[in-house]
């Protein structure tokens, strides 16, 4: 089977081929069927590539949930802790901290998108913000 250029080794090559054949012949006649049966289950049958969802995403989601729960707890505690000089500032600071943590966790831009939504929400809740003033002035 081997087209070795060196004819001086033809005989030993042929003997090695016979040896390989002999080793293959040591297998039971049912080898292929046995191997097929043993390995068939390892093949999928749905045809679609398996999504690679591992522990990484799960852990990130769990960490995000824990951070959110913690932030809500902090906000609740601050709100119950009597009169605060500037509760809104505390709430904003806590939300910002959560924000940074979420942004780190979701490096695929999710944090950034969430940031845009949050900023928009803040603006809507503060109609006295400068932009509105400017707009009113311009009218």
């Amino acid at each position: 089977m081997n087209a070795h250029h060196d004819h001086e080794f033809d005989r030993i090559n042929a003997a090695l081929d016979r040896l390989a054949e002999s080793d293959g012949a040591a297998a039971p006649a049912s080898l292929e069927s046995n191997v097929y049966r043993a390995s068939r289950a390892a093949l999928r049958s749905d045809g679609a590539p398996r999504p690679r969802i591992g522990w990484g995403l799960g852990l990130r989601l769990a960490a995000a949930a824990a951070l959110l729960a913690g932030t809500i707890g902090v906000i609740s505690t601050l709100n119950r802790a009597g009169p605060q000089p500037a509760p809104a500032a505390n709430v904003t600071a806590a939300a910002f901290e959560t924000w940074l943590a979420l942004d780190d966790l979701f490096d695929d831009g999710f944090g950034t998108r969430l940031g845009v939504v949050s900023t928009d929400a803040d603006r809507l809740s503060q109609p006295e913000a400068e932009e509105w003033d400017d707009m009113e002035d311009s009218l």
Binding site: A15, D17, G24, A26, L31, V35, Y36, S39, A42, L43
Partner: protein, 205 residues
Amino acid sequence: MPPALERTDPAPGVAPDDGRLADVLAAASRGDADAWREIVDLYARRVFALVHSKCRRPDLAEEVTQSVFVTVASKLSRGGYTERGRFESWLFRVAMNRARDEMRRMARQATPTDPATVAAALDRATENGERTRNEAPLDALREAMSSLSEPDREVIELRHHGGLSFKQIADLLGEPMGTLLARHHRALRKLRSMIEDVARAEDEE
């Protein structure tokens, strides 16, 4: 289902058409049972021969062969292998590693063999009458194989038992082609020398 692959045994070494092989592998990776059966039919005996050459135990060789194909099926179906014309190198790398692990587990090491031992093996084979004339020289050759260094022996086994081309072996072992050819040449020379010593000893008797 892609067109049927032509079996290469009992004359391994002739690689199936790369395009067809790629089609069959793609079908198998999608869970096509017939395609997987073709892969098994094409390569199982070659993998078995390679492993059997190392361990000389048919039961163990079959067990290792099965585990190799389970690994390959699993990798294929998970997209862990992309066909780039190197399937055989990959398959036999898995087989070699698995066989090596098994040998290590069994703490079985090749013992140096001198021509006298080879001759004794040949005598035993001839005397007990159970072996045919063709099998006796194979026993001597097998004994001679066990005297080779592990790297030399691997090249011989991948070439003759696995039926791989030198390029495939070079890919598999990650060695330059020149180094590989030199090693193969050296191994053949050693084997030939040992077999000739045995024949000479027989002539003198």
